[in-house]
Amino acid sequence: MSQKIKIILILLVMLLPLAVQAKKSVIVNEQGDTVKYLHPKFNGITIGADLFSPVSNIIGQKYGNYEMSIDAGFYNRFYPIYEFGISYANDTPDGANYTYKVSPSFYNRVGMNYNILYNKDIPGILYVGLRYGFSFAKYQLTDITTSSPYWEVTQTNLSIPQSKSVAHWGELMLGLQVKLYKGLMMGWSVRYKLLFADSSKGDAKQWIIPGYGKSNSPLGFGFTINYRFSANKKTNNYIK
């Protein structure tokens, strides 16, 4: 069994007690009837923007995913979500003999967040999520320097011509959103990413994948600011 699958299974097992605990609550409405959900069927629409990548750019990260999201909440439990953004890169790693460039490229993710504490009357959500992402990219390597030390020869300013690639991947995530004021929310998330495939062929393999990040780094982080347009102001139910 691969290491990645093991990590996913461990994460799922760790989250299971939270989900079980959430199910144990008994909800009673004003008429005294036991109901399944504390929150209404439709919770509203949430629009969000990721701040992690722009902040990372300010402190030195040489690639960026500028991303927005829109989701709809049902029973405060299921949040189908669509994330989309633009990505670019212009990275010359320390000590490396190349510059890796990605032209501004579009990416998409679709998936669902599952609020573990869906029957709690708290100002926020704690969720696990799944995503399927795909992106198209044009990338190239420039400013390449290479040498033959024995033959005492060095070549500079070499490049590998632009390549195109389509990539798709899955993500398992854990996140938190907390209400700050009215519909304004802030949150963070951690993503574990699994690259299914990328179509890069030819002389240069794809390294920085729009929406995914660096292909050799399976973890991703998000720090989001969101605004929820709620459909209902209050719940009429009680938790016992």
Partner: protein, 169 residues
């Protein structure tokens, strides 16, 4: 109490990404290393077995400073023959330093004719040339037989060429 919990959670929200960001690390190779043909030495018998040469000197023909790559190395069983990124052919002289070997068996020459392409496999190892050997030639003063195992040289770990000698009893 509830307000305190909410305030604490807001602090955690702000701190966690910063902590996670500081934990990010990246490792890179020092520089791109182009593949170098690794030559393995074998005794010509059935089946062939790895062998060692008593004392061997290896140098490239027309190296600008006449630098020696391996200088009278004893009991050597493999050696690298780096290709020149600014040429399409290189020759290496193998000089057998043992006193027991006399002329004309004292030296052999390996010749590579090749073309190359720039490639990028991993960010750690960077961009480097992959060489494709179009023609491999050798002299047979002491070498009994030689073979090109794989024409593509993109690794420094596997043998590109095997050379065979008649083993001494």
């Amino acid at each position: 109490m509830v307000r305190r919990v909410i305030s604490l959670s807001k602090v955690i929200i702000l701190l966690i990404p910063i902590l996670l960001l500081s934990a990010c690390g990246e490792e890179y190779c020092e520089e791109g290393t182009s593949g170098m043909p690794l030559v393995g030495i074998y005794a010509l018998q059935t089946p062939p077995v790895e062998a060692k040469i008593d004392s061997l000197t290896v140098y490239g023909v027309d190296q600008v400073n006449d630098s020696i790559l391996y200088n009278n190395v004893s009991r050597i069983n493999s050696f690298y023959t780096p290709l020149n990124i600014s040429a399409e052919e290189v020759k290496y002289v193998l000089l057998y330093e043992s006193r027991l070997i006399g002329e004309p068996y004292k030296r052999d020459t390996l010749t590579y004719k090749y073309h190359k392409k720039l490639t990028f496999e991993t960010p750690e190892c960077g961009a480097s040339y992959t060489f494709i050997i179009d023609e491999f030639k050798y002299t047979t003063h002491s070498i009994a037989y030689a073979e090109l195992i794989t024409p593509e040289v993109n690794s420094i770990e596997s043998q590109t060429v095997k050379i065979y000698y008649v083993a001494e009893d």
